[in-house]
């Protein structure tokens, strides 16, 4: 039988802990769960293939947030992330990460993943952030996925590749019971009963449309279509601060990082068309992105990453990382453009919008044990709400989730669920395959994401949002009534576009709810241009209640690490002032 041909099938399996998503957080969560109880069954479900899936498919060029003794303390890091997030942070989870991450660095090192060390054998940590020193380069970061995969095989984790999870199952009393998934090459359904479920499904990176017009030329791995956000939403879990969009400074058209985190410590910097610096610090924050955006619009753009003033040996060293690790086609792209870093600067632009706590703070709400608001359901990595947690946060919080989820599984039996849910989901999933005539998923997706760009991209204008939501509702109707999928691969895309549509609706709803401006460009509302600490110094939680999208405020937990009044606005001072 040919691949992609649709097969009618449904099977059911069960396990103690189900981890969904085999990118960064997922493998670590699965590993830690299994090591905690080697007799238990741990299943790692992946839409692509664990060997090469997720944001670090080809590796990673550095740790952006390593708290290494001698360079930084957990208190300093917690303070920096709190300030970078305009104070809207539950510090307990950030502080716990900061305390645990060095242990994870050493564990990764023991897996064979190497980090830059100086001549004394100490980690060579670099300064990129506004205040502290947390960036640790990984010159052979191309080995990350292979090293993780070896660990998974050694621990005998059950890996199921090419299964896309579509909905979570819950018991009548609201506890997690498992998940429903579909094979991306045959369209057969697989129901997985589980005592605990960990969502590690990455960012919602296919939300906005890249300016190149190429739908898969996104900043995030284009497989990260926000399925985890949509699944958590439909399961009734709370999602935090979704209005705090992810928007990043990237190589124009290529749409990948340039990358200032790699090149900055060697002396590279972001400059305008006059060759002048205009931002104090290259660390990605909403405040920094606002200055970047303003510069592009000011007539002083384009904006560039400048390396040409550096020594040729230094440039060669930077190239050897940029063109080998994380996004290795960067070299091919620059070569095609005739750009040599020795003589020409790298033209930069800003990315499409997305949700991602890895870089901003928009994620499924979790506490410091990676627990969501649904009992037995966990989340970690880019899709969980611990802010700015990057790759090391995915590993560290994935580890926390794996251990806590196994403890949950050890003290709970399988929850009962209504078998009727499976029939309903099967009908929903396969609906596009049952139609003879209609609109293919790529057109539904293009239109949805084009509307996201036209109406939801900051600056956020209330009237534009209202119009955008009307247009999106029309496309949703087409999606639900008329979309067709002629083979299993098209069905995969058809399911992904439903996640994208859900994320677009959540982005709009969350943005209209917060009636102030905060986090620089991430939530810049022209109708409410000021930060309003009196009414909006709080998280927002979005969730589905009785079938309806709702938002509410949630107080910021008391700080573990106090922030002095004169420190609170340090990230607001990003623009370089004219010297006296």
């Amino acid at each position: 039988m040919a691949m992609d041909e649709i097969v009618d099938g449904l099977s059911e399996v069960s396990c103690d802990v189900l981890v969904i998503g085999g990118g960064t957080a997922g493998p670590m969560a699965a590993l830690k769960a299994k090591l905690k109880n080697p007799k238990a069954n741990v299943v790692l479900l992946e839409k692509a293939n664990v060997k090469r899936s997720g944001a670090i498919s080809m590796g990673m060029d550095g740790l952006n947030n390593a708290v290494i003794p001698g360079y930084a303390t957990p208190e300093q890091y917690t303070k920096e992330i709190t300030i970078a997030n305009d104070g809207i942070v539950d510090q307990k989870a950030v502080y716990k990460y900061a305390q645990n991450c060095f242990e994870i660095v050493e564990e990764l090192d023991s897996f064979g993943i190497r980090f830059l060390k100086n001549e004394n054998g100490d980690y060579a940590v670099k300064k990129v952030h506004h205040i502290g020193t947390y960036v640790l380069p990984m010159p052979n970061g191309d080995t990350v996925k292979k090293a993780l995969y070896r660990q998974l095989r050694r621990a005998r984790i059950l890996i199921s590749n090419r299964y896309m999870a579509t909905r979570l199952l819950k018991s009548a009393d609201g506890r997690i019971a498992g998940a429903i998934s579909v094979n991306t090459r045959t369209a057969e359904l697989l129901v997985i009963k589980a005592k605990a479920v960990i969502l590690c499904m990455g960012a919602a990176g296919r939300l906005g449309l890249p300016t190149s017009g190429y739908m898969f030329g996104t900043y995030e791995n284009a497989a990260n279509s926000g399925d985890g956000y949509a699944m958590a939403y439909h399961a009734g879990a709370a999602l935090a601060n979704l209005e705090c969009f992810q928007i990043n400074p990237l190589i124009k058209d290529y749409n990948g990082p340039a990358c200032a985190y790699v090149a900055g410590p060697f002396g590279a910097y972001t400059a305008n068309n006059e060759g002048s610096r205009f931002i104090e610090c290259d660390y990605w924050s909403g405040q920094m992105m606002l200055e970047f955006y303003n510069e592009l619009l000011s007539g002083k753009g384009p904006v560039f990453l400048q390396l040409k003033h550096l020594h040729p040996n230094t440039i060669q060293e930077i190239e050897s990382t940029l063109h080998k690790v994380e996004r290795p086609t960067r070299g091919l792209f620059q070569q095609g453009r005739g750009v040599d870093y020795r003589s020409e600067s790298i033209e930069m632009h800003i990315s499409e919008i997305g949700f991602c706590s890895g870089h901003s703070a928009s994620g499924v709400f979790v506490d410091d044990n990676a627990r969501t608001t649904v009992p037995g359901l966990y989340a970690a990595g880019d899709m969980a709400s611990v802010p700015h947690n990057y790759m090391l946060g995915a590993f560290t919080n994935g580890s926390v989730a794996g251990i806590d989820a196994m403890e949950f599984a050890e003290s709970h039996d399988f929850a009962d669920f209504d078998a009727g849910e499976i029939a309903i989901e099967r009908e929903r999933v396969l609906a596009p395959t049952k139609r003879e005539d209609g609109i293919p998923p790529n057109q539904i997706e293009y239109k949805t994401r084009r509307l996201v760009n036209d109406y939801l991209q900051p600056p956020k204008v209330t009237r534009k949002y209202e119009l955008g939501m009307r247009r999106l509702a029309e496309v949703r109707e087409d999606m639900q009534e008329r979309m067709i999928a002629r083979n299993a691969h098209e069905l995969l895309r058809a399911l992904e576009v439903q996640s994208i549509m859900d994320c677009a609706d959540m982005a709009a709803h969350a943005s209209l709810y917060r009636e102030e401006s905060r986090w620089g460009l991430y939530h810049l509302r022209t109708d409410f241009p000021e930060k309003d600490n009196e009414n909006w110094f709080c998280h927002t939680l979005l969730r589905k209640r009785n079938g309806v999208m709702t938002s509410e405020k949630r107080a910021v937990e008391p700080y573990v690490v106090p922030i002095a009044d004169d420190e609170k606005d340090l990230y607001d001072k990003q623009r370089i002032r004219a010297s006296a």
Partner: protein
């Protein structure tokens, strides 16, 4: 509504003289995060069946015979 075929020039190119898919190799198809590569029934060689590429490179890096080349998609080249 009838559907038309939309022509695109695809970024992933396979050198059929080097590709050993006809010997049972499926490495590039296995590792692609977007699942866009297939083995041709007619030719027994790998090819890009869907123009949905993140130009990330596992297919090229993991190919045992060096048959796969990832180019930058034309729209962003």
């Amino acid at each position: 509504m009838p559907l038309a075929t939309y022509q695109t020039s695809v970024p992933v190119v396979v050198d059929e003289t080097k590709c050993i898919a006809d010997k049972g190799c499926t490495v590039c198809v296995d590792v692609c995060p977007l699942d866009v590569l297939r083995i041709s029934d007619m030719r027994g060689k790998a090819y890009m069946a869907y123009d949905e590429c993140w130009y990330c490179m596992p297919c090229e890096a993991d190919c045992p015979t060096g048959a796969v080349t990832v180019n930058i998609p034309y729209l962003l080249r």
